[in-house]
Symmetry: C2
Subunit: 360 residues, 2 copies
């Protein structure tokens, strides 16, 4: 498996399909599973882990839904290669930093993946672009069925699937939506909204950073409870809450445009101008500018930069990807220069925007 192919791959979940005009980036269904044939991760030896690995890989090979898949043994990867996988959400930071035999299997478009020997023996996930929680759950369920035919899952008649951490016991299911909420943040409504959601057993966290300081105003909405409700109920609950959040954000955007339309338009186009021209861009500034641009896309103020393009840009501008592209480790300043250069180059490749030829 050549990792440089991964670096240049455009994962399908970043395509921006059915994304509520850019408000929803993607959605994800993750299932935690463990085998009866080995001790759970906290007590497993490397020999146990190797055995788990063999069994899961064999099951993955037989999976119809996974299809032609790649396997990467994380322990044999270099530091930056692991970072690239984390940035692509193919592995968790925990799996990157763990020790012993561990790995990840993923299909060509990165919509299905299986982490082996993370906190649980098996963490399988399905990721889809835009607002498709039920579809993501269905795909995870199909993959789970495939693997379950070959693997003996640890399951309790009363408690359901058993997991290393009790918070995952039951369905082992976490569904989540990656959602962009700039107007709620700008209008200081985010905290009130988050408080409301906690009552609904949902959590909202910044994709990077917490609360209202979330980088790029991107939030991950996910269920907190895995036990006592069926998978279908969890999916329905999260879908309903996500749709509510989207409506709140749209309301806030509408108010913003009524109260300060010129300022919003100005902010959007300035972000575009800076992204097209800056020579140095920190991650923080880049994510802020991208958020303004995404808001412009949602409000139809700017139509030359599709949401899928922005999603992709968010991935390839991260340190691991920049370093993979440059074939060497980069200092923070070098990364900021490379990031700016990459962003300019990608934006140049977009078809020109007729509404603003001077900067299209």
């Amino acid at each position: 498996m050549n990792l440089s192919a991964v670096v240049h791959n455009a994962a399908s979940w970043l395509r921006g399909a059915q994304d509520e005009c850019g408000i929803v980036v993607s959605c994800r269904a993750r299932l935690a599973r463990n085998l009866t044939t080995a001790p759970f991760a906290p007590k497993a030896t490397d020999a146990d882990r190797a055995r788990v690995m063999d069994q899961v890989l064999e099951a993955a090979r037989r999976s119809v839904h996974l299809g032609a898949a790649s396997f990467l043994a994380v322990e044999s990867l270099g530091e930056n290669e692991r970072l690239v996988l984390v940035e692509r959400h193919l592995i968790s930071p925990a799996l990157a930093e763990a020790t012993g035999p561990r790995g990840v299997v993923f299909n060509r478009d990165e919509s299905l993946s299986v982490m082996i020997n993370e906190e649980d023996h098996v963490r399988l996930q399905a990721v889809l672009p835009g607002m498709q929680v039920a579809a993501a759950w269905r795909r995870a369920d199909e993959l789970d069925d495939d693997l379950g035919r070959s693997l003996d899952y640890a399951h309790h008649r009363r408690w359901g699937y058993l997991t290393a951490c009790p918070t995952n016991v039951g369905t082992g299911l976490r569904v989540s939506v990656l959602i962009h909420l700039p107007a709620l943040v700008l209008s200081d409504d985010m905290e009130r909204v988050v408080r409301g959601l906690t009552h609904l057993s949902c959590s909202v966290r910044g994709l990077y950073g917490e609360g209202t300081n979330a980088l790029g105003n991107l939030f991950q909405l996910s269920n907190q409870v895995t036990l006592g409700r069926s998978e279908e109920e969890l999916v329905e609950d999260l879908t309903r809450i996500a749709r509510h959040l989207i409506a709140c954000e749209r309301d806030a955007q509408e108010r913003l445009m009524k109260e300060a339309g010129w300022q919003v338009e100005d902010k959007v186009w300035r972000a575009y101008g800076l992204l097209c021209n800056a020579r140095v861009l920190s991650t923080q500034e880049f994510m802020g500018l991208l958020s303004a641009l995404r808001l412009g896309y949602t409000l139809r103020l700017i139509d030359s930069v599709p949401s899928g393009f922005m999603n992709q840009l968010m991935i390839v501008t991260q340190p691991g990807h920049l370093q993979a592209e440059s074939n060497r480790k980069l200092g923070p300043e070098e990364r900021d220069v490379r990031r700016a250069s990459l962003v300019r180059q990608r934006l140049r490749e977009l078809p020109r925007n007729p509404s603003n030829a001077a900067a299209g």
Copy 2:
């Protein structure tokens, strides 16, 4: 005389010729003269002023060097029309705000003009683009000779030309250079430089605003003494000092590039990106961005925006010009929106910059 023709005219002194790579905008020679046939301005009645006006206009009509010229009676102009003339440096704010018969005569390319009944009966000036102090003085001298053939100037054998304010007595000559000093300001060297120049009987003032807070880092360098030295000496002194200032600025720019080249390049291109895309631009921000762009031109970091273009832009984005263009009075917010729109439009009309197609 139709003032809208003036609004759309491109004054030749903004062309940016011989401008030391954009460091020098223009230079100017101004002569103060008074007639023996009427009391000086502080004691003149409206009847006196009317007589002065007639005599000067008759002299101007006969001037070979002035050629086909326009006359505007300032007292018959509306508020915004006077503002437009001030913004074009055809009249002083003092002449705009005075009362009684007063006016201005100027030739087609606005390189020669004569204010009538300002602080002195006659204030004539020659303005040229770039670093041409001696040439500006020669043109003012020729016009002065033309007018002097018809007018009886107040002149004292010992003191020279007599003026309303003693600071102008003698030659009545003020020569000045409009100069862009961003690196000296940025490196906090401006104050030291200004102190040095005061010893040399020169003054450096912000074009708008004083000292290091000068809007757009534009400074007016001019002689303080008009008495006891010949016109040629004054011109030579100012030229020498201006060349010294230009050399200091170039040194400071070189140091800046050595110490923070990426940051400078970033600043220049961000300014360009914002000017091409912003929807709201205050005068202050606009002048700051234009200064960064001009620095980029001087350093050859950006070559798609000629200095003459920037000089023109500086004039047409001022409130009077924006209001003349819109045919009505505009509030400050409306002006900022109109300014941004005009800047975008003008930049769009420039030939594209091959080095940055994404924003050319």
